[in-house]
């Protein structure tokens, strides 16, 4: 028997009972498709979360006001609501060598109007360094300058979403137009590039004004809600974080670090935490998919065992006219292997398709990795051989006379 014969015999055998072959294959298809889709979704989610964290800045350290606890009470007023950080705290950090740039900001929500339209959005008072620290890029016009800050000028830089909300999509150049924030006129000097975020803290839906202007005309205080610090490089982040902590503790006259009235978030820690969460998630998804793959394999074994029993007389006949054990076991092995192989190819295609669909409709940049294809294919080939081997051997070992007598 040559390869072509085996192929023809296999094709003939599998097409005799198309429905059953199809259903058996379906088990493998679902198993493989889910492994590939789930891994790609998991990895896509991981990549997406990481790139979003990266997009908020590089080597970023975020300082936010912490819980203010009265001595002996457990009641806290909540993170961010406390007012413990000031612009002066930010200036004090500039002396630290491992710090590259500092951008304090005060963020508040205001009603904003322009040419009759109005929206409620976050107004962010900050300094020129913000663009460097938070990886913010300017699309048209310019960002806030040092001059704007020192003179507390009423200028504003709009996020693209805010611009669309106020002037309508496709409004064209709005530089030089004015908007009213809390009934005060501001002149638009720039539009930021889209960062493509959604929901709360979306940098596209924001208005940037000089910190001094916000404090003077809008909030009327001298507090800041966040101080963003860029470290010199990745290796100096831990050192920078430590020095910031000690500087601020000293400034706030706090000797016990656990009583700190501010919080420091390190970008590296955020990435690590997020990665470990999404990693666990991916493993969870993959193991569910793996179970369905094994179920598909058992389906193949089931079908092959039924086939061997059903075709006992045929096996007897083939042996009687000269088929050796090897011929018979090869034929049955080829059948189960074909089922898993064809099922595998369809499964990979389907998994890919699902992953593309998820990328399109759920906005997760899924990626079908070669590794997951090899894994899923390898497992299915393994299942095909292992679960096909036992029935094949059983068929090959049958005594021709007994097999021919079988009813």
């Amino acid at each position: 028997m040559n390869a072509e014969d085996i192929f023809q015999e296999t094709f003939a055998a599998l097409t005799v009972n198309k429905l059953r072959s199809g259903l058996t294959m379906l088990g493998v298809i679902i198993g493989i498709a889910s492994v590939i889709a789930m891994i790609s979704i998991g990895q896509g989610a991981q990549g997406s979360i990481q790139s979003r964290i990266q997009s908020i800045g590089s080597n970023l350290i975020l300082i936010t006001p912490g819980f203010t606890r009265g001595v002996g009470t457990q009641v806290s007023t909540g993170r961010g609501s406390a007012q413990t950080l000031t612009s002066e705290d930010a200036s004090a950090l500039s002396g630290i060598a491992s710090v590259k740039a500092i951008a304090p900001e005060e963020s508040k929500r205001y009603q904003v109007t322009a040419t009759g339209k109005n929206t409620n959005t976050s107004v962010n008072g900050t300094v020129p360094a913000y663009t460097e620290v938070r990886n913010l890029e300017i699309d048209t016009g310019s960002f806030i300058t040092d001059e704007n800050v020192s003179s507390a000028s009423k200028v504003a830089v709009l996020g693209p979403t805010t611009r669309d909300d106020l002037f309508g999509v496709g409004a064209g150049d709005v530089i030089g137009e004015s908007i009213r924030i809390n009934h005060i006129n501001f002149k638009i000097i720039g539009i930021t590039k889209s960062k493509g975020g959604t929901g709360f803290g979306n940098q596209d839906d924001m208005i940037f004004v000089p910190l001094s202007t916000l404090q003077k005309y809008l909030s009327g205080d001298h507090y800041v809600t966040t101080i963003s610090v860029a470290a010199q490089n990745q290796t100096s982040m831990a050192q920078a974080q430590q020095q910031i902590t000690s500087t601020l503790l000293a400034r706030h006259n706090i000797s016990d670090a656990t009583q700190a009235d501010f919080q420091i978030l390190n970008q590296q820690d955020i990435i690590a935490t997020a990665s470990s969460v999404t990693g666990i998630f991916t493993i969870l998804l993959a193991s569910i998919a793996g179970i369905s793959l094994v179920v598909g394999g058992i389906g193949i074994m089931n079908m092959m065992l039924t086939t061997v029993t059903e075709r006992t007389r045929e096996i007897g006949l083939r042996k009687a006219i000269g088929a050796t054990k090897k011929d018979i076991s090869l034929q049955f092995l080829a059948e189960s292997f074909t089922l898993t192989f064809v099922g595998g190819v369809i499964g990979v295609a389907l998994g890919w398709f699902i992953s593309l669909g998820v990328a399109k409709f759920a906005n997760i940049p899924t990626q079908v990795s070669l590794g997951s294809i090899i894994l899923a294919f390898g497992v299915s080939a393994f299942i095909g051989i292992v679960f096909g081997y036992y029935p094949a051997r059983r068929a090959a070992g049958l005594n021709p006379i007994e097999a021919l007598r079988y009813e």
Binding site: M1, N2, E4, D5, E9, A12, V16, R313, E314, G316, L317, R318, K319, A320, I321, G322, A323, T324, K325, K326, D327, N399, P400, I401, L404
Partner: protein, 238 residues
């Protein structure tokens, strides 16, 4: 040449022992046409399975062309079957849902005959077996009993075996069709010098052979030359 020496076959099921063949010895020369006759249950099919290298005797020796077949392994027996022996089974045993041609080419697959020659050989065999050409592409389950028997005969001939074993080849056929099948065997025996062993329980059928071996309760009761050999009358009908 076939040489059986003291062949005994015992089937065991639990503590029960059924002796199906006891101490059977005979020789058949190349080119002989032998009928094995006996009542139902006498052990004819069992003997045929041993002669066809499908089964091994419990004791005794079986030499096929001087080779001791009774000591061969499973796969070695398969090799003997595919090159030297053609079977026509009592129950046809065709491959279901497969065409006549595919059924006939099946032994060639295992005998390693190149793909191109298979079709040609199968057609020759089908012509020898008297299978009408317009039925060659039918599926095996769309044929009449007589046609199935002819496909089975064609399958037995296709690899030009030196020995053809036929178990009740006319058992399910009417007398006219039976006659055609017997004529086919006589022709093969005369023209191709095949050794033919025909198993039957009808004296009329046995009388188409040159020699008749009578068997009863697993023992040879009579082994004689057939003095009044019948020649099958071939009529051109299905």
């Amino acid at each position: 040449m076939i040489d059986c020496k003291h062949i005994t076959k015992i089937y065991k099921s639990g503590s029960d022992e059924t002796v199906v063949l006891r101490d059977v010895s005979f020789k058949i020369n190349d080119g002989e046409f032998v009928a094995i006759m006996g009542p139902s249950g006498s052990g004819k099919s069992t003997l045929m399975h041993i002669l066809g290298a499908l089964d091994s005797p419990t004791s005794g020796q079986y030499f096929l062309d001087k080779r001791d077949v009774s000591s061969l392994s499973d796969d070695e027996l398969a090799v003997v079957r595919k090159h030297n022996i053609g079977f026509v089974f009592q129950a046809y045993n065709l491959l279901k849902r497969a065409s006549v041609l595919r059924n006939v080419t099946l032994p060639l697959l295992y005998a390693g005959v190149p793909t191109r020659q298979r079709q040609e050989k199968a057609m020759e065999a089908l012509i020898s077996a008297g299978m009408p050409k317009d039925r060659w592409h039918y599926l095996s389950n769309e044929l009449s009993g007589g046609q199935m028997q002819r496909v089975a005969i064609a399958r037995a001939l296709v690899n030009n075996p030196s020995l053809i074993l036929a178990d009740e080849p006319t058992g399910n056929l009417d007398s006219v069709t039976g006659e055609i099948v017997l004529a086919t065997f006589q022709k093969l025996n005369q023209e191709k010098k095949c050794t033919i062993i025909l198993i039957t329980h009808e004296l009329y059928v046995a009388e188409h052979a040159d020699r008749i071996i009578h068997i009863k309760d697993g023992q040879i009761t009579k082994d004689e030359k057939n003095s009044k050999k019948r020649n099958a009358i071939i009529s051109e009908k299905n």
